[in-house]
């Protein structure tokens, strides 16, 4: 018997008990920690965040998996999605400028916490000749060491937003980064038997300086004069000249781009053409980054092996 209910009719008593139970249920729900919805702009960030939060939060891609992030035009669905997010992980240095338009259109500018994945990553310039200028390479996610740094950064920021889960996020991040290092080490063993000193390469897209840096390699020439810009006939002729003079024997094209230009350069210079991925297409999955990085490392090793005398 509940105290204080003596003298109340049985009907009213039942109603009161029902209301109390309803109230306590609502209170219980209110006390349950909120499950974060973390938005991401690029595929690698989906993998990073999915491995950091695991089952403790939802990871929401801001745009469709098959959309090209290089020239993306925001859609209504993206804006609706942005309205529901608790945080958004962005590149912020040239690879997802459309995200800021989406956030603004969703009325979330200033209220949606933005996590700049690269905030603590030391940036490096795009390789090759950039007309004497040093241009920041925004493709920090095509590497393992810089990726690990981004996982740390995201983990810090998510922990600050969701302190109840901060320790779990950190433990998950530690396990994930150990796995990324193991992947890197696996290929280091394969690379250890290769002579890297004379390896010269060109890339179609300026996306691989961080990847090359992992192995003490560098990019000698980049075909695209700027991010996502097709070279003019004169620029292409100049680059072909550089490839010939620098004895470049390998050209890395893009897995998800058309191969037409690569084939033309192959015919003009005799370079061997291989395709790398900068992990910005296809379905969003937790293991996507590892799968594509493994492919990239495998391709890189095969390309270097192919230049052996």
């Amino acid at each position: 018997m509940i105290e204080g209910m003596n003298g109340i009719s049985p009907g009213r008593r039942r109603l009161a008990i029902f209301l109390m139970l309803l109230g306590s249920g609502a209170a219980g729900q209110a006390a349950a920690p909120k499950r974060l919805k973390v938005g991401v702009t690029l595929h690698p960030y989906y993998s990073f965040v999915a491995n950091i939060v695991r089952e403790r939060a939802d990871v929401v891609p801001l745009i469709a998996g098959d959309a090209n992030p290089h020239n993306y035009q925001p859609q209504t669905e993206d804006i609706k999605r942005a309205m529901t997010l608790d945080a958004l992980v962005v590149n912020g240095i040239g690879h997802d400028e459309w995200a800021f338009e989406i956030v603004k259109a969703a009325g979330r500018k200033g209220t949606l916490p933005l996590i700049y994945a690269n905030a603590s990553v030391a940036l490096i310039p795009i390789g090759g000749d950039q007309g004497g200028a040093k241009v920041v390479n925004p493709h920090t996610f095509v590497s393992t060491t810089a990726a690990i740094q981004q996982v740390f950064e995201i983990t810090h920021r998510l922990g600050a937003i969701d302190p109840d889960n901060a320790a779990a996020y950190r433990a998950n991040a530690a396990a994930y980064t150990a796995r990324l290092r193991a992947l890197r080490a696996e290929f280091m063993v394969r690379f250890a038997n290769l002579d890297l000193s004379s390896f010269r390469c060109a890339t179609m897209h300026a996306g691989y300086d961080y990847l090359m840096q992992e192995f003490g390699l560098s990019v000698t020439a980049v075909i695209e004069p700027r991010h996502g810009v097709t070279p003019t006939a004169r620029q292409l002729a100049n680059t072909i000249d550089v490839i010939k003079k620098a004895n470049i024997r390998v050209l890395f094209t893009e897995k998800y781009f058309a191969l037409g230009l690569g084939k033309a350069i192959e015919q003009a210079t005799g370079v061997k053409v291989y395709a790398l991925s900068h992990i910005t297409d296809g379905p969003y999955t937790a293991d996507r980054f590892e799968v594509e990085m493994r492919e990239n490392l495998n391709t890189l090793a095969t390309a270097i092996e192919s230049t052996r005398p």
Partner: protein, 217 residues
């Protein structure tokens, strides 16, 4: 006879004039007194930028040290100890791990200098010995020298001291010396390092680039 005076509109004109004057005055006051956007402070003579002040090998090692510093700090916060070079090898932690990155970036010889010790830790130091060392005061330093890559320097990863049991470590700075064989400095405070030719590496990171592009950190 009632005289109806012509409406001149003078008071309204005066009011509008005064309002415009006040608005202009406020605007001028704001423009003159607003805080100037300080931007990023310029590098000092004893600092060097990671983006355009370092060669390829130094740049690669700096990037790897930044990431390693994070891991070392986490490890210290969790265990109170420091990642030894043996553990770094087991963890495959660049730039200490002897892999292709290490080889192509000059095969730098790394030493761990524990707080209060300020001398090279023997390669055989046990984790317990390392843990004991952390109880002292002073910075923990990973010192890299004798690199053989072209135009390579010597390196210091200096992790600020923590008061055992009362504070945690959360600050690391990276220093570089033009001479790959620069000896280990006895004192790792900034003034002493600068005096011995060491320069602090200021990372040009994503936050710097966002600030440049968007004007906000």
């Amino acid at each position: 006879m009632t005289v109806v005076r012509r409406i001149s509109g003078q008071p309204e004109t005066l009011a509008i004039f005064c309002t415009v004057l006040v608005l202009l005055g406020s605007l001028a006051g704001y423009v003159l007194t607003r805080p100037a956007n300080p931007g990023r402070p310029p590098l000092l003579g004893w600092q060097v930028g990671s983006f355009d002040g370092l060669g390829p090998a130094d740049q690669a090692i700096h990037g790897a040290l930044l990431s390693a510093a994070e891991e070392i700090t986490w490890f210290n916060n969790d265990t109170g100890g420091w990642i030894t070079l043996e553990e770094a090898e087991r963890m495959r932690l660049p730039p200490f791990y002897h892999d292709v990155f290490w080889k192509t970036n000059g095969e730098v010889r790394w030493q761990l200098i524990l707080p209060g010790a300020h001398h090279g830790t023997p390669a055989t130091a046990s984790p317990n010995a390392v843990f004991e060392g952390t109880k002292g005061q002073g910075a923990t330093v990973y010192y890299g020298s004798a690199g053989r890559a072209r135009a390579q320097g010597a390196y210091l990863l200096v992790i600020g001291h923590a008061h055992a049991g009362a504070m945690w470590t959360n600050q690391a700075t990276i220093w570089i010396h033009r001479d790959a064989h620069a000896p280990y400095p006895d004192i790792v405070k900034a003034e002493a390092l600068v005096g011995q030719g060491w320069r602090q590496v200021i990372a040009y990171n994503g936050a710097s680039e966002v600030e440049r592009l968007k004007g906000t950190p």
